[in-house]
Symmetry: C2
Subunit: 183 residues, 2 copies
């Protein structure tokens, strides 16, 4: 099996992808020599598709994800990273203060270039936002996201459990299943 | 003088640009047949530059703007339109509740394609955010923005006064001065 090249500078994402794909005997390395062009769009699919089409080389992988909060019309969505850097977890929780509806989901879209085509794989995990940030593992919004059926935030779970549930792991599992099928 | 073609679908922006440029005898029309690619970036200059370079035809004009709130690390900045559509004015004000520092500025960057080059023109207006939305003229964040030296929000001012002060009018004035000089 070939080695996938993951266009990212995020070590956490690479680690998560590696952990999933290695179970299928698929290896993935960081590709940081390519400038990833991210467009503004409400759709992660569009963002990933655009980034890969500009530079469609076989085995190149791009991923984008976001946290979509129900009562905030999907905010922060595709702009989760910017929102995290500016208003942060505290800002996000503040927007939900006093709100009974704390429903949210994480979504990840993984794109793969193969035979000059872009294939997209999606992973979603539903849940709700905690009242306060809790836990210290993971990254980004992990301390405020409680997946359905659990009382722990992603940041309170061990890596193994988070990797079973997370949006990103689901998307990479779908990618792995596809690769296993075509090989 | 030629006619500028403004790549936008926003009637408010076209009206504001027309009102400024007509004072210099420059005409501008809406160009909505071109798909404007907006990248994700903290820099309005980068966003405008990328959009124009993809399709650099003489007299094409692109504008991008944002509201940058001091105590929120510049949020919502280049994503002001998305933030307006999702959490809205109420959400933004909520993030500032109890905050003494209500400083913010509007910034507009206008790009012009000429001789296969992109020229950028900037306009900034400093001010602060109101406690509540006030006024009904204008659009977007106008009801919550009070420019320096005034007690009225942009949405409470007449169009004439707003056009003297606004970031967009300043950027288009700079464009007009440039065009007048080279003609």
């Amino acid at each position: 099996m070939v080695t996938l090249r993951f266009v990212t500078r995020n070590q956490h994402k690479l680690k998560e992808a590696t952990s999933i794909l290695s179970q299928y005997g698929i290896s993935i390395v960081m590709e940081n020599s390519i400038n990833k062009v991210e467009i503004q769009s409400d759709s992660l699919e569009e963002i990933v598709n655009y980034a890969l089409r500009l530079n469609c080389v076989d085995w190149l992988v791009v991923e984008d994800d976001g946290l979509f909060v129900d009562s905030l019309n999907g905010f922060p969505g595709p702009y989760s990273e910017y929102v995290y850097r500016t208003i942060g977890l505290r800002g996000l929780l503040r927007l939900l203060q006093g709100s009974r509806d704390r429903g949210a989901y994480f979504k990840s879209v993984v794109g793969l270039c193969i035979n000059n085509e872009v294939k997209l794989f999606t992973g979603i995990v539903k849940g709700r936002l905690s009242e306060e940030p809790r836990g210290s593992s993971g990254f980004g919004y992990d301390p405020v996201f409680i997946p359905e059926g659990y009382d722990l935030t992603f940041a309170e779970m061990g890596e193994d459990l988070k990797n079973k549930l997370s949006h990103r792991s689901r998307a990479f599992n779908n990618l792995a299943t596809y690769l296993t099928r075509i090989n």
